[in-house]
């Protein structure tokens, strides 16, 4: 791997197969996910059958506890942008502050702002700590509303703590019928 000093590029810079990590800002690159959940076998429900559950849960790689691998006393800004369906029936533009207490390991996620005119501070949005562990740790999970349709839709997510957590564990998405219970 090449290690360059301060560099000026007289032209365009394209990151074709990888990401640009701006370590100086501590923000991760935007991570893009699809909105459609056509898993079969979830109570016989599927977006591809038109009867999918109304909430999409996104399990991020962020460890939601205060272990040495976690984020105790390390609040982070978590951002979500996206849409679902061809006309944007669901539209996401939200920010939260995540925190895990370093002493008693309490988890909190406070919504800072929203701009989605149709959803706003809707109860359809949530951020919670997974009940199960993944890779030995509980993870930060985001919840957003979706339409029961395998229509076009994309999500972009980033956060403002060290980008090392971006590949700490695999991402996952799944629909559920609850805004606070799933993973």
């Amino acid at each position: 791997m090449a290690t360059l000093q301060a560099t000026t590029i007289n032209g365009d810079l394209s990151a074709s197969n990888g990401k640009v990590f701006d370590s100086g800002s501590s923000f991760t690159p935007w991570y893009k996910l699809g909105h459609c959940d056509c898993h079969s076998g979830i109570d016989g429900r599927s977006d591809c059958l038109g009867n999918g559950y109304p909430y999409l849960h996104v399990r991020t790689p962020i460890p939601a506890d205060n272990t040495t691998s976690g984020i105790g006393w390390m609040p982070a800004m978590l951002e979500l942008v996206g849409y679902h369906t061809y006309s944007g029936e669901k539209f996401h533009n939200h920010k939260w502050v995540l925190n895990t207490r370093g002493d008693n390991n309490g988890f909190s996620a406070t919504e800072l702002s929203h701009q989605a005119t149709s959803e706003g501070f809707s109860s359809s949005y949530n951020v919670y700590r997974s009940a199960s562990t993944y890779g030995g740790l509980k993870r930060v999970v985001m919840v957003m509303p979706k339409v029961a349709c395998c229509c076009t839709g994309n999500l972009w997510i980033r956060w403002s703590i060290s980008s090392q957590y971006r590949n700490h564990h695999a991402w996952a998405t799944q629909m559920f019928n609850s805004t606070n219970t799933g993973y």
Binding site: M1, A2, T3, L4, Q5, A6, T7, T8, I9, N10, G11, D12, L13, S14, A15, S16, N17, G18, K19, V20, P29, W30, Y31, K32, V81, Y83, Y86, S87, G88, F91, N93, Q115, A116, T117, S118, T152, N154, W156
Partner: protein, 178 residues
């Protein structure tokens, strides 16, 4: 053109052109000035609206069942008499009728911005383009506007030249300068 593999820059990276993060599919910001010439006002800088023509084709060669989010931020005048902060979903039908979906502001927290998104009347480079207008103050005061796109952004945002124009119209009475 240099093609690098994984690289680390232990200092400041300066790019005089564009940074294209193709995997994340989010374009870089395009910055424009708010003080546009006007064609139907006197003096030329006094218009009620700033119209911006983007490079995005307003048909299914760029869109078509594959929406793009357009994000706009900015301000006009030294005290920010108008501030812009909105997102609009751009789309057209992907089948043969290729219908432009029209104005779809999904998120707006600007001040006195009154954004409007529309399809150009004329063609530029052979295609109608996505345009929008926002409030401008009748003054060639400081003001900038930043635009970026989400989804389908590897080539679409660089397809044609940008343009701006001041007009004396309003959000509800579009003069469609482009």
């Amino acid at each position: 053109m240099a093609t690098l593999q994984n690289s680390t820059i232990t200092g400041r990276l300066q790019i005089t052109g564009k940074l294209k993060q193709i995997n994340s599919d989010v374009s870089n910001w395009q910055v424009l000035s708010h003080c546009a010439n006007g064609t139907d006002t006197t003096p030329v800088y006094a218009g009620g609206r700033l119209h911006v023509r983007t490079p995005i084709r307003a048909d299914n060669t760029h869109l078509g069942w594959n929406p793009i989010i357009m994000e706009v931020r900015g301000y006009h005048s030294y005290s920010g008499e108008a501030t812009h902060n909105f997102m609009a979903l751009l789309n057209s039908t992907g089948d043969s009728n290729n219908t432009w979906y029209g104005n779809q502001i999904r998120s707006d927290s600007g001040h006195n911005s009154l954004p409007l998104v529309y399809q150009s009347t004329n063609t530029y480079g052979g295609y109608k383009r996505v345009c929008f207008s926002v409030t401008k103050v009748g003054c060639c005061c400081t003001g900038h506007i930043w635009i970026r796109f989400w989804n389908n952004t590897s080539t679409a945002p660089y397809d044609y030249a940008w343009a701006t124009e001041g007009r004396g119209d309003s959000q509800g009475s579009l003069s469609a300068p482009f």
